[in-house]
Symmetry: C2
């Protein structure tokens, strides 16, 4: 990692009704996210902790953009948890401030980015140019053998990646250990039969200690990577697993919607999943696709896709994984939308296909050829 | 902990324009948060995973309340991370569903609640009936000696509890170790002088491994408890620290505002901080006070106060800690609002008091006598 710069910028969108109000709010944010006390009571020794509002511009009626320059000394010692605190700690309670961007250079001093990224995952799958296919193993309630039999049917018919449903944890119906053992074996057997290696990513989402134990167990059993819901575990688990296991990580957005679902508050989807989750080490990032059961727009989703794959950001690119409401009949539309640097995740419509999982998987693979 | 019940209920508020639409949304939520696939494609073996919508009632124009009964088998094996996933995982991405309550009995099978709670903290302070006083040690940028000198001035003048500002992490200006050492010594020295023990809670918010190391270090040095921002660390850190160190824990709402700031989505403040954070083991819960720089109403805040102290919830009561915008002149108003089972947290207005920290602290203490 590079040494910390002296300062870094955070960009906000601020709801206001005048330039003066927007400026006042920007000043308030800069104090809230640093010394958190009346500026006139800050002692001289701590005055270097004060950020500086460097820009306040009207974007459109009722909405301003503000840039604040923060001293990197507020973070200190590679502390990614404190970085998130500075980024959106107390102001998450305001309800009318949205964070939209952060200087690239601060990331280089705190994060390592994906260990494998798009290139690494492509190499493991053996597919250099086309989009990749992915499905979710489900539902909760099936036995390990039944889940493994489904994994086998997907794998034999050529799917690129199988990830656990993010709801598969360590239930009595299929413990993490028994499920991962059965599914890695099934996927391995399919590879021996077809000559093509399907990747399997079990869900290790749990407390940090247990998640690390599961990552170790899964990789020893032959899993090719892991699935994590970083908002459920706490974001730092992503970087810990990346650092300690160096395996491909797919990140799932469960529990994170409150940060990215609101127009005038939260963190922009592009910054949150596209820069922060990528910086934390997600090799692939699942996000809610437009037109499905979620409410994100095509523009938000293509912005995110562009950010995840942007080569100016100082880490390996993360594979964008749109999910939710993609049908076999609409894959081509979304391929046109996102381009080929994409993993398409289809769950439901493979399971309910009238001709069965096998045919559905073959059609899916054909659509991405 | 008690054995898991077979089912538990989750209560939602759903924005809709008709009874039929509300019912349809409730069904959609029940599927999203369990099998996450078309119901007609769920195999027989997994049908027991399906929740049941048990109530859909109109609350007021445009808003319905829905109750869904979930099989506890979806959680499995004391998994509090998976509990949060079932509670508000994917539906956090919907933007129009708010979770408002959960059956008390499921908490007993997953959580232990505060180790000390109101009674324990009162015993440590030696004050049985009156509200307690608390301040935040700040700002970032001061040296350990300067922070300790401030701690001493608060303690000598009788403050009950000093917590670190939640922005004090491990910056170069005051590392966690040097700050905690200096401040515990200062508070101890004050106690020897005055005969009254002020409690000191340093901020251990960090990755789980580092937070545990800091908790151990702090308690060895003589700190009386710790401060954690559970949303920054991942919620499970709260229960881990409670389990492994058994010390009083004060929880800070940094980064959690996106969950509780929206009328028609998120988790109600009362459920989130009042039941979930209490269940996770927070002995005291800081929350944004109405009328300050945050946007919560008196009703939301008193609801939360009532939930934190409710004796029907099966754990020790958590101390409510309203914070933000409380002045020495308004303490009495808020004492009337909340009653005496309250820790009042005042930061800024002690620091900027024209007669100095010492007088301000004495006045604060007097107001709570």
């Amino acid at each position: 990692m590079k040494p910390a710069p002296s300062h870094f910028d955070i960009l906000y969108q601020i709801a206001a009704s005048s330039d003066a109000e927007a400026r006042e709010k920007a000043e308030k944010v800069s104090v809230e996210q640093s010394v958190e006390m009346p500026v006139n009571a800050v002692p001289n020794q701590a005055k270097t902790s004060l950020p500086e509002v460097t820009k306040v511009t009207e974007l459109c009626e009722g909405l301003w953009e503000s840039e604040v320059s923060f001293p990197a000394s507020l973070i200190g010692n590679n502390d990614i948890v404190q970085f998130m605190n500075i980024l959106y700690g107390n102001i998450s309670l305001y309800g009318d401030i949205k964070v939209t961007d952060v200087s690239n250079h601060i990331f280089e001093s705190l994060f390592e980015g994906p260990a494998h990224g798009i290139k690494g995952i492509r190499k493991m799958v053996g597919a250099n140019n086309r989009p990749l296919s992915c499905t979710a193993l489900k539902p909760i309630g099936l036995s390990p053998d039944n889940l493994a039999s489904r994994a086998a049917r997907f794998a034999v018919n050529g799917i690129d990646i199988i990830k656990d449903d993010h709801g598969l944890a360590n239930q009595n119906s299929a413990s993490f250990e028994s499920r991962t053992k059965a599914c890695t074996a099934a996927v391995q057997k399919a590879a021996e039969k077809t000559g093509k290696q399907t990747l399997y990513f079990p869900n290790i989402t749990a407390t940090h200690k247990v998640a690390a134990e599961r990552a170790e167990m899964a990789l020893e059993m032959g899993a090719h990577g892991v699935l994590i819901c970083p908002q459920l575990t706490g974001l730092s688990l992503l970087s810990e697993i990346r650092k300690n296991f160096n395996c491909p990580i797919m990140a799932h957005p469960s529990f994170s919607g409150s940060f990215v679902s609101h127009k005038t508050s939260g963190i922009s989807m592009s910054l949150y999943y596209g820069k922060i989750w990528r910086a934390l080490g997600a090799d692939a990032v699942i996000f809610p696709n437009p037109g499905g059961r979620f409410q994100f727009t095509r523009e938000q989703c293509t912005d995110l896709h562009n950010t995840l794959t942007n080569t100016e950001f100082p880490f390996n690119a993360s594979f964008p994984v749109p999910a939710g409401g993609i049908q076999l009949t609409s894959v081509q539309d979304f391929r046109d939308l996102y381009g080929d640097e994409t993993i398409f995740l289809i769950g439901g419509s493979l399971y309910e296909h009238p001709d069965g999982i096998e045919t559905a998987t073959q059609l899916f693979q054909k659509a991405l050829a």
